[in-house]
């Protein structure tokens, strides 16, 4: 039984890692906002999906700025009970890609054989959005996505928000969403990180990541948060997330189930001067999770305490655009459940992620970006087990480090072509033979060409 439990825990972990690996890149840039407001994309985006200061303001306001003809209703006391665009704010997104890794991936069935390198996905991802105002102070950003790697249509990012301007210096709101940080305003956090918001959907990606950096979102959660924006510079947000995976019932077959609710917090200060803006902030989450995976949802939990610092600088000139984003995430994992079940070597581990990126665009058309990423953490024989080729950790360490460089061409404000190269100095804990099956970190270096249109 103990062995079975252990095996299923490891299997659960592998599934979670694979889910992380295969999670489609998020995308935010919706022409229905442009149709609703009459604003060109450049009003809200430097180059999509990165937001300008006004784009952040539009989001804070609950996506409600609207100039379209309305269907409206009022009560006899003149209270507005309906304000609906005559045409629904719909948008469509299409992504197609080409991915090639330095060394082909092993064949899934035949030993010593390799898969075909150089994969075309058409589409990599296709999404339908409802994005715009739905009532006087209520707006929605809802994304449904066809995922080309899994061949299925599913629910994606959702952020439904209510916002009120209390007075000149105070705006407050509520956000109901399914991805911690999808509601965030800056492009340092995981949901909308720039400059590398898009990664190949088929190339191997590092297996270890923190909860706030996508882990919790992939486990399937829903949450509500309240935010305030003071004096056009101070942002405060407090929220909580509960498990809400796509499955109808949450039971022992689920994995990483939140016990109670996981509090989420965000603090940021932004200063704007002339064409410049600088943000400095912090965010975090406290999540107690039942590992699940054939283990009943009771007894000890794993506690993940994440705190993070972030900063973003933007210069938005007429011709030159510069953005620099950075975040550092620290996660303390108190693994009462996993350690108790004999599936981790340590009762507690740490995991740290650092990301720094800079991008430059000329004329909002021609751009380039360079970024460094690193995830390092405690050595743990069982948590980071050898596992399968490519995805395994033969050195018992979660460490992955490397660089990404990208060239972009944005011929129209809603069309982007990106050529990206990612180099790994370390992958899943090692540089050479990191998976115990002879694969080196560099073998996962990825060339990725992405075509992306929104309309």
């Amino acid at each position: 039984m103990q062995r079975g439990k252990l095996r299923s825990l490891i299997a659960g972990f592998a599934v979670a890692a694979a889910a992380l690996l295969l999670a489609p890149g998020s995308a935010q840039a919706v022409p229905s906002f442009a149709r609703q407001t009459g604003f060109a994309c450049e009003a809200c985006h430097t180059v999509f999906p990165e937001l300008t200061p006004y784009g952040r303001r539009f989001k804070l306001n609950g996506y409600t700025v609207d100039i379209l003809p309305q269907v409206s209703g009022i009560t006899p006391s003149k209270e507005q009970t309906l304000m609906l665009n005559q045409l629904p704010p719909l948008s469509f997104m299409f992504q197609t890609s080409y991915t090639s890794t330095k060394k082909a991936l092993p064949d899934t069935a035949l030993p010593d054989a390799f898969a075909k390198n150089g994969q075309v996905l058409f589409p990599q991802q296709a999404s339908l959005f409802y994005a715009g105002r739905i009532a006087p102070n209520l707006g929605a950003f809802v994304q449904m996505t066809y995922d080309g790697t899994s061949g299925s249509f599913g629910w994606d990012n959702t952020d439904i928000r209510y916002a009120r301007l209390a007075n000149e210096n105070f705006l407050w709101g509520l956000s109901l969403n399914n991805n911690p940080t999808v509601q965030d305003l800056w492009n340092t956090t995981s949901a909308w990180q720039s400059p590398f918001d898009q990664r190949s959907a088929t190339a191997p990606g590092p297996g270890a990541g923190t909860m706030i950096d996508g882990g919790l979102a992939d486990a399937g959660v829903a949450g509500v948060s309240a935010y305030g924006y003071l004096y056009n510079s101070v942002y405060v947000e407090l929220g909580a997330y509960r498990s809400a995976p796509a499955a109808a019932q949450i039971d022992s077959t689920s994995t990483n189930v939140v016990k109670g609710a996981a509090p989420y917090w965000r603090l940021a200060y932004e200063h704007q001067w002339g064409r410049h803006s600088l943000e400095v902030g912090a965010y975090g989450v406290e999540a107690k999770l039942y590992p699940g995976g054939d283990v009943p949802l009771s007894g000890p939990t794993n506690k993940y305490s994440d705190w993070a610092l972030d900063s973003q600088y933007q210069y938005i000139g007429d011709e030159n655009l510069v953005s620099v984003t950075a975040t550092y995430i620290h996660e303390k994992q108190t693994l009462d459940a996993t350690y108790g079940a004999g599936a981790s070597s340590n009762p507690s581990d740490t995991l740290k992620t650092l990301r720094i990126g800079a991008s430059y665009y000329y004329d909002r058309k021609y751009g380039g970006a360079l970024g460094y990423f690193s995830t390092t953490g405690s050595s743990d024989d069982l948590l980071y087990a050898q596992g399968d080729p490519v995805t395994g950790f033969a050195n018992s360490k979660p460490d992955s480090k490397g660089w990404t460089a990208e060239l972009d061409w944005v011929p129209y404000e809603n069309t982007k072509i990106a050529l990206q190269y990612t180099m790994y100095d370390k992958f899943n804990g090692g540089d050479t033979n990191y998976d115990g099956a002879g694969r080196n970190a560099k073998d996962n270096n990825t060339l990725y060409l992405l075509g992306w249109i929104n309309f």
Binding site: T37, G38, A40, E42, A43, P53, Y54, R57, P69, E168
Partner: protein
């Protein structure tokens, strides 16, 4: 009897137009605080120098600009990106209502710039640059930069916004003010900055 009817009709009409006026004012206020405020602030004190402060601006000037956005006569990059769409659905009545609403708000207090820049700016503002054929800004915009009718208030404006407008007049991207195109033609970037800093500080 006729007089009484006339008086009565007059009173009804007056009441009606007062009610309509009140409704227009209310509508303009709702528009200003509900939509325009996202960039220009609820009382016309904008959130960033990309967007002008509108509080205390000349009503006639605001009317002219909104009309120029609507007709695409004013086409500088930000006008296109933001205001063409915003103004496209405005009626003449709502334009007038918005203009009056902002004109009635309390203007922002100007920021004082660097001393040498202010000194040079004051000279340009009050005397012009005779050698380059630049007239004194004060001659149209007023001694205290409060503006007059079609000539906008500059006092309390973001200096960066004024610089961007002067650059737009110079490069021709903002082509709805032929007078200004002539005025700034020979001005250097430093002179533009100085004049804008001084005017904004009034």
């Amino acid at each position: 009897m006729k007089t009484i009817i006339a008086l009565a009709v007059g009173a009804v009409l007056a009441a009606g137009s007062t009610a309509a006026l009140a409704q227009d004012q209310e509508g303009a206020k709702a528009l200003a605080t509900g939509v325009c405020s996202a960039c220009h602030g609820p009382q016309g004190h904008s959130i960033s120098p990309v967007f002008p402060n509108l509080a205390g601006q000349q009503s006639a000037y605001i009317t002219l600009q909104l009309d120029a956005f609507r007709s695409h006569e004013r086409g500088d990059p930000n006008a296109r990106a933001y205001m063409w769409g915003m103004a496209s659905q405005l009626s003449d009545t709502s334009i007038k209502g918005l203009a009056d609403y902002y004109a009635a708000q309390k203007p922002a207090v100007g920021e004082i710039g660097d001393k040498p820049l202010m000194a040079e700016g004051q000279k340009i503002y009050t005397q012009g640059i005779a050698a380059q054929g630049v007239p004194a800004c004060a001659s149209c915009h007023g001694k205290d930069a409060e503006g007059a009718g079609a000539f906008p208030r500059l006092a309390g404006q973001h200096a960066d916004y004024l610089v961007a407008q002067l650059q737009g007049f110079q490069s021709g991207t903002r082509a709805n003010a032929p007078i200004m195109a002539n005025v700034v033609r020979s001005m250097s970037p430093e002179q533009i900055k100085a004049a804008a800093t001084y005017a904004a500080s009034r």
